[in-house]
């Protein structure tokens, strides 16, 4: 299992567009991926679950992946979040 804790840096937090980008990236990997906030843990492959985290700018979340491509998956998702989802 690979885990990584990251901070949400983009202004709007995990709203529709960022959540959609996250789901699309997570969908490219075969491993199980979970996103954990302080309150709950959800699958990264469900947009609805991601939105229900209500992660805002400045919040910390943990990415947890389990499977053959877990390292690549965690790196790809971390990079995406750190890139602020391409927001200016």
């Amino acid at each position: 299992m690979t885990t990584q804790t990251v901070k949400i840096l983009n202004k709007v937090g995990l709203h529709a567009r960022p959540a959609s980008m996250l789901v699309n990236t997570a969908g490219k990997f075969g491993c199980d991926i979970k996103i954990k906030s302080s309150e709950k843990s959800v699958t990264a492959k469900s947009m609805i679950n991601l939105l229900s985290l209500r992660a805002k700018m400045g919040d910390t979340i943990t990415i947890e992946a389990d499977g053959s491509d877990e390292k690549e998956a965690v790196k790809a998702l971390t990079d995406l979040i750190n890139s602020k989802f391409g927001e200016d």
Binding site: K7, L9, K11, V12, H15, A16, R17, A19, S20, V23, N24, G27, T43, K45, S46, M47, I48, N49, L51, S52, R54, M57, D88
Partner: protein, 546 residues
């Protein structure tokens, strides 16, 4: 005539014909469940069809809308793959042996209810997307065509709906629809965002109007007050025809005015510049007719990150901004952090009086490791456009000469490195501390321009924290003491033949314009959204007075 009230979320007036989008009737009862494999297959087919439809709509939208709005629609495709939505419906079909329709309705309804209760307005609005997708799958299961008859809509159509769904609005013909009215939704709803992007009127949260309006009714939509009139009488019609015409002329006038230059009666040119924080702000500023940037708040480059932005990173941003301005001046204010704005990675000590503490230029002079990379970045960018440097929070001549000394050492370093920069770069200071305003005549000989920051000048002069609502009555930039300091600053600038700008809130205050023009202010720098209004106001006042 019937009147309904909601929230006006996009300014404008529309007198037109109603088109009512009926809510989708649930068809779950019409179909009795077959065996669970059959039902799963039916659902699979309906979901695939829905995906193709949404993709098609998203593509159309990306041609007529900006990318962000098209993105909202595209994100609906994710719902169609979502284990918590469609996945859950499949599970229900298998486990409970129910029809595909019942399963989809059940999941969509419970998700809709869950999202409606989230206390985040933006996420709450996504409930509309969920309902939209649920309705679409249900329609496809029933085999009916989805969509609204946009083809045969008359001009000046006002769309009425419980809530406008992104897939509905994506196909809207802008030349035919003149307003939106919905029963649901708030200021951040899809309806509000889209109406603003289209520049048409919109009223949301207009409860109880469905059922009282039918397609073909004559309606008036007032996007300013949030009033909707159905089958209005002659009196209201003529009143709103007048208001609407006036609004259109005002709008056209302001936009046209933004392209004209402001001259006083004595023939002096007054410029209207923009206060920006990001490249996006600059885009808006330029399209609104900014004649330059009077204040580039560089703090935003330093915020929301875990380390300092490098010289290279800053250079790229300043260079891009200078190039976008194409010769018009770009006034870059050096880092103004501290006070109410802190940076976690600087580890600044907690102060009991942050506004009177280590902030802005004081911090930069204390730690030139922060100051120098920024100055070098600004200097290097000055080779690519018309850049001016501005120091914030100067309170004494000693500080000013110290700051200028650091700037000179940065110039020397760049010369050693062989990097190009504008060796005549203009250097100015903010006048926002009373001591600087009082001694403005002494400062004027040492800088190329002044810029008055009225927000801080007011709170320091009146000793009233502008963020403290208990003393907000005392915080008044039109207080005679503050005005006197402003006048002294402008007079001192002109006596030394340097220009004086104002980049505080007061610059966009309609009531202050005549006074400031009277004092001889040379430049008004305002937020990008306030440029057209400020300019049209100045055009009126300048020709009437001085």
């Amino acid at each position: 005539m019937e009147t309904f009230n909601g929230t006006g979320v996009s300014k404008g007036y529309a007198i037109g014909t109603a088109y009512v989008i009926e809510p989708c009737e649930k068809k779950s009862a019409a179909h009795t469940a077959g065996n669970s494999c059959e039902e799963a297959e039916r659902l699979k087919g309906a979901v695939e069809l829905s995906k193709r439809q949404v993709k098609d709509i998203a593509q159309k939208a990306s041609r007529s809308l900006d990318g962000k709005n098209a993105g909202i629609i595209e994100s609906q495709i994710n719902f169609l793959d979502d284990p918590a939505f469609v996945g859950q419906a499949f599970t229900l079909i298998k486990g409970k042996n129910i029809s595909a329709e019942t399963a989809v309705s059940h999941v969509a309804d419970s998700l809709y209810a869950a999202f409606s209760h989230i206390d985040d307005d933006y996420i709450k609005e996504r409930a509309a997307d969920i309902k939209d997708i649920g309705d679409r799958i249900l329609k496809n299961l029933a085999g009916e065509k989805s969509g609204i008859d946009f083809e045969n809509m008359p001009e000046n159509t006002v769309l009425f709906a419980h809530d406008l769904k992104p897939s509905d609005t994506a196909q809207i013909d802008k030349s035919k629809v003149s307003a939106f009215v919905t029963e649901a939704g708030g200021r951040t709803s899809h309806t509000a965002i889209l109406a603003k992007a289209f520049g048409i009127a919109a009223v949301v949260g207009c409860k109880g109007m469905l059922g009282n309006v039918k397609t073909g009714d004559k309606v008036i939509t007032d996007g300013v007050s949030g009033t909707v009139l159905i089958n209005p009488d002659e009196k209201e019609l003529s009143k709103y025809t007048r208001i609407s015409e006036k609004f259109k002329t005002e709008n056209a006038k302001n936009t046209a005015a933004a392209k004209r230059a402001v001259y006083t009666k004595a023939g002096k040119r007054i410029t209207v510049a923009a206060n920006i924080g990001t490249i996006n702000d600059l885009k808006t500023a330029i399209s609104n007719g900014a004649e330059g940037v009077g204040l580039f708040r560089t703090e935003f480059l330093y915020m929301d990150r875990s380390d300092m932005p490098s010289e290279e990173e800053q250079f790229e941003v300043y260079k891009k901004a200078a190039q976008m301005l194409d010769g018009r001046p770009l006034t870059i204010r050096t880092l103004d952090i501290g006070g109410d704005k802190s940076l976690p990675y600087l580890n600044l000590p907690k102060e009991s009086n942050p506004f009177l503490g280590l902030r802005a230029i004081r911090l930069c002079l204390k730690d030139t490791g922060i100051f120098k990379p920024q100055l070098r970045a600004i200097l290097r960018a000055s080779a690519f456009g018309n850049i001016q440097i501005m120091f914030p929070m100067i309170s004494s001549l000693g500080e000013l000469s110290e700051a200028k000394g650091v700037l000179e050492s940065c110039k020397a370093e760049l010369r050693r490195r062989g990097e190009a920069f504008d060796s005549c770069i203009k250097t100015g200071m903010m006048v926002e501390i009373p001591s600087a305003a009082i001694m403005a005549d002494s400062f004027a000989g040492h800088v190329d321009f002044f810029s008055i920051g009225t927000n801080d000048l007011t709170q320091y002069t009146l000793a009233a924290d502008r963020l403290n609502e208990n003393v907000s009555e005392l915080y008044n930039p039109m207080n005679p003491a503050v005005l006197k300091l402003i006048q002294m600053t402008i007079n001192a600038a002109h006596a030394a033949s340097i220009p004086c700008c104002m980049c505080g809130e007061l610059a966009s205050d309609e009531k202050a314009a005549a006074v400031l023009l009277g004092y001889g202010l040379d430049e008004f720098s305002v937020s990008p959204g306030a440029i057209t209004e400020t300019k049209s106001n100045l055009l009126k006042k300048a020709s009437a007075g001085q």
